[in-house]
Symmetry: C2
Subunit: 371 residues, 2 copies
């Protein structure tokens, strides 16, 4: 009989934790009172079990529940349903970890390229990678393509659309992707540096699948997808069936208050097939702690069955003069994403971008805290 382990952080008085753990075990398996489980075989085989309850240093408790692999039925959506479906609605419970047996690990696509594949695709070895974003939205296709050329000329490794850029009238998807990829191609011919362009693909499943195909037909080197926005099972299906290039996962709509960010972004996005995982750097404009960021990066790289490492991408307000600190913290196997901070001085975008590129290229020697 196979089980997988889910850990939940429970905020409740000590005397209530055992009852809450039992309630989670029922809720995430049979979803009936124990008295309604009449069949002893079913009770033994299917009902969730409390595997462990540990008090944490902060007074909360870590509750580990062993859930039956059979209940997942070989489906990724159903995995999330069993791991955290109804319990997601309990405000005192946060899903913090998962331990999967090999058959469940193999259910997920995982990164097809991962860190190593991103290095092959960009030719960037032995140093951190650079990434920037085409923004702000509202500019027309020519302006975005010109910015793309500026970034590519300055030597950025990966150039992504801002995640807010979709298929708006002011920069339609097909036209924008073609123009930006042509800009990449021109710079490659002129300078020999071929950046990877990752268009943002947003929409309902059939639209996304069609746009991924169209972008790949234009020769893009990667795509940017937001798993929590598109739907986690949909994201995994795109990875498996539609995408032939590396995937950057964006955290949009992953308001991960109930799923701990290291689990959601570091483990789950990777399991679902992200090759690079964008997350809010602790020194940026989001309130992620240093520890949470270290944990996200560590989980993106840690052994995970047969799945290769994904590349951590600190982002969300990284400043030009904060690059060295970020690299000292995350280490070499990192892609640094700076967007808005490059754009502040309109006439010096190329110069600021080159400073960014040089800072990262010069950081090949740094020994990262988490690397």
């Amino acid at each position: 009989m196979h089980r997988f382990l889910c850990t939940y952080r429970v905020r409740a008085p000590r005397g209530q934790v055992a009852a809450i753990a039992d309630a989670i075990a029922l809720e995430q398996s049979v979803e009936v009172p124990r008295a309604a489980v009449h069949d002893p075989v079913l009770a033994e085989r299917i009902v969730g079990r409390v595997a462990e309850i540990r008090e944490r240093a902060d007074g909360d408790h870590d509750v580990v529940i062993a859930l039956a692999t059979e209940t997942v039925g070989g489906d990724i959506a159903q995995f999330f349903n069993m791991a955290f479906g109804n319990t997601a609605m309990h405000p005192h419970v946060e899903w913090t970890d998962v331990a999967l047996p090999d058959d469940l690990l193999a259910l997920f696509p995982g990164p097809r390229f991962g860190s190593a594949g991103l290095r092959s695709a960009t030719g960037a070895h032995g140093r951190p990678l650079t990434c920037s974003a085409l923004k702000p939205q509202g500019q027309d296709v020519a302006a975005l393509a010109a910015l793309c050329a500026t970034f590519a000329q300055a030597g950025v490794d990966v150039i992504k659309d801002d995640h807010g850029i979709a298929d708006q009238a002011y920069s339609p998807f097909a036209e924008r992707v073609a123009a930006c990829q042509r800009a990449i191609d021109r710079v490659a011919t002129d300078t020999g540096h071929r950046a990877l362009y990752a268009p943002s693909v947003v929409g309902a499943p059939r639209v996304v699948a069609q746009r991924i195909r169209a972008a790949q037909d234009e020769g893009v080197g990667a795509v940017l997808l937001a798993p929590a926005l598109l739907g986690l099972p949909a994201f995994a299906e795109f990875v498996r069936d539609d995408v032939h290039v590396p995937v950057l996962a964006h955290p949009s709509f992953a308001g991960a208050a109930r799923v701990a960010p290291p689990l959601m972004l570091g483990t789950l996005f990777r399991l679902l097939g992200a090759d690079a995982v964008i997350f809010p750097h602790y020194a940026g404009r989001f309130a992620y702690s240093q520890q949470a960021c270290a944990d996200i990066a560590a989980r993106a790289r840690a052994p995970l069955g047969a799945h290769v490492a994904a590349m951590p991408v600190p982002a969300g307000g990284v400043q030009l003069d904060g690059v060295d600190d970020a690299l000292a913290y995350y280490g070499t196997d990192t892609m640094v994403l700076i967007g808005g901070s490059l754009l502040i001085e309109r006439d010096r975008i190329g110069e600021r971008t080159r400073r960014f590129v040089d800072a990262v290229r010069g950081a090949a020697q740094v020994a990262g805290a988490t690397a």
Copy 2:
């Protein structure tokens, strides 16, 4: 120039709220520092605007941001991206409301049947509706079909799969759906009462679309889908392109800590096309407040452009002896869902189900607090 209004509840000291509101306005539109918006036309047309800041009685603030409809580009996924993409990662911000102009309201499918359509489909007029769930999972197809027959014979209006039932080896989807629908058909022939059977459909988009078709080919009267589990844009696409019967929306994985439950379940699930919205009743095993439940029900029924009302479905631990209170609270235009509580005494499931059905049928006269 068209704008839509998003309201966010911000937990922060009074002196910081204006700066936070400005940061949200930038984050949810151009996602760059204001200094990086060089084009005055773009600043005027695209950048989000702080429309209002109101102090709440509890000391938090409601911040209303006017976002440009243009940025949505006519796509539902992109709407969520613009409304709450990156801001979902700010722990001090909760998305609590949205006000949409007619063109954005028309972007969403909304309920195709709604409350009135569910009444037509069940023939239940002038009284609340009853609903129960086939559970626990782990039983085989014959056992689930027998329970379905028991519920149908007792006169339940809508019989849904437990949301945890997917396509597991012990009750494969195709076989289970066929057997349960045949049980419904037999009871209809024998007694004249035709319950609606709503199978739970879980999976990645292509799998879900195929199973919805297969279930409809079997003649099912409804389907159960979990928008937050499947992905909000995927759910809306299924409603628009694949589903020809009423849709019950299940809150699984909607750990709505950062999206207020009345907005997520009452407004957004309805906009996306749910005909009936299942939510945790305040007297059940989830910690939703009475007020939150009243707000969910009110939003499912309130005027919303041209969209018809969806039916509120209180669930999640409703007890047999709590039906009267629930109906007094929610009123007649309600479907009451009891699952596990009917199953506790194995030999009296039919009897307890008839008590449930009679309690609801007898409640036609009640005047609900929120109706």
